[in-house]
Symmetry: C2
Subunit: 343 residues, 2 copies
Amino acid sequence: MSTNQKTTLALDVHGGDFGPAVTIPAALDILAVHPQLEILLCGMDEDIRPLLEPKGHSPGRRPLLQRIHMVSATHVLTSDARPIEALRRGSGSSLRLAMEQVSCGRAVACVSAGSTAAMLALGVKVLGMLPGIERPALMSRIPSATGHTSVLDLGANLNVSATQLVQFAIMGSVACTTNGTGPAKIALLNVGHEDSKGDAGVRAAHATLSEMAINYTGFIEGHDIFAGKADVAVCDGFSGNLILKSGEGLARMFFRHLDLALRSGWLAKAGALLVRSALQGTLARFEPSKHNGAPLLGLRGVVVKSHGSANREALGLAILEAVAEADRQVPKLIESKIKEYWG
Amino acid sequence: MSTNQKTTLALDVHGGDFGPAVTIPAALDILAVHPQLEILLCGMDEDIRPLLEPKGHSPGRRPLLQRIHMVSATHVLTSDARPIEALRRGSGSSLRLAMEQVSCGRAVACVSAGSTAAMLALGVKVLGMLPGIERPALMSRIPSATGHTSVLDLGANLNVSATQLVQFAIMGSVACTTNGTGPAKIALLNVGHEDSKGDAGVRAAHATLSEMAINYTGFIEGHDIFAGKADVAVCDGFSGNLILKSGEGLARMFFRHLDLALRSGWLAKAGALLVRSALQGTLARFEPSKHNGAPLLGLRGVVVKSHGSANREALGLAILEAVAEADRQVPKLIESKIKEYWG
């Protein structure tokens, strides 16, 4: 965020497993480190007010509260809200209000830990698609040997056309190319590296990307995500969702087994004490809460989805992600890149 | 394998990264523990003979050699052989000969570590599909919290219809239901648990399986594979391949980080010595060589694919998998189950 300019972000305080008890403290944390940030808390007054009241001796809290504004919702969409429900019952909901703050220009970005399906449906309806983009895509970072790999789409689109895969690649390229790094290295996920592999859609997208002025490295396979062979891995949402969730499940199983092994006898327990600090760094890399904040790319505004189970620290990361994307004007950059490539 | 009946298996000695140097010692290992097993070594005479010659003092070797027979090939298909190439140039190749031993009834099963695409193309051509099955599917075991989960398809079919998903489910159910266990618990992989999730094909397969006399538990998500929520997880081959390979990549990265952490200082090194034996059990669970041997289900005969990088022990597991499936007459059981469900 540039230091002199005010940035306003809208936060759906009710999304996620914990709601305001996590979202509001997270918002205050981020306000404390970003003096130019203002946050619009979108939600039910009666749930928000008690959490903003002064508690004991907290002199640092008052100036933060001056940069918080409430946007009163009439209701909250459930975490399993289906798209049709979000569209029909969305008016006045905390999620829709957060998006409307962006569409009317009052905020530059919004964050929610609510239902992905509802965010998608309302994102398209309230903000609309960028010209030249057919569908929004959900992108997230996965830890890799060299840092992390961003993967999209993660479930916004179950079946995708070759054209949509190319659009995802361009959006990922824009979102992951930041100052100081070269252009993000883009790859298409496939069942093999050779040009002949994959179905017609994946091969057609490969042919198009190969001819574009984009840092496209070709097909990569599942294991290449973690080897860090690309900065951005593009695939359909069905596969992406299964890769992401199966990876989370595998990591959880590892940690449980590792933990069991380290408690399996007095020798192992003694050893565990000695290796603990070395292991903690490794484990932290795989901790999902360190990678929270998945942008919904392709909309006319910055929308960031937080993991439903995000804790205070993780929700803070999603807010920071939204601030960074707004600051870099990612939607505007996507629009101009799409125009550049497709006239 | 029943103790009194001779079982003959055909082995493509040239498949995989190491060829006869691994496949032939693995075959001898398995012959040593299965007195009723005979193995047909399909490959180039000049590569096989030197490996069968007596080396030093090995009195146990001679009786094993009596249960080995050679089937001379004229050439070997490369590991990246495409289907069209396998069909055109397959005649006389070690892989095709191994399959022909099954189709002519000389062997009850065959094993190869060759190209999956070539195995599929030749499997369909030489052995043919079981009646009522449209496409073969590749299945493999993945470690889970409760043991392992078998996943199919792993890349034989990139796009699948609802009918094919149902056929995969039935094949997986038959292949994973063994004596002593109840009927295998079958699930469809999807991006959510609710009936409304997924595309039309997945939902249609779900509706059909829900009405079948099969132990169908519904939709599961990626992380549920590792939580052991099902014995068999069914999906299209594109997603299955990406899940399998990304899981392998994640496991490799995890081990590398763990190893680095355990060498990161003298305290960690000392601790690592103490926890080593406890960790080794955990690591072994995730070792791909402990889960080798992926059947190609749906063909008129048992065909088992070994990982290309399989070592001697891992290749032995693929041979044992083939023997077990032949013994249980999996293709015949699949045929009768398909008839039962679909008349």
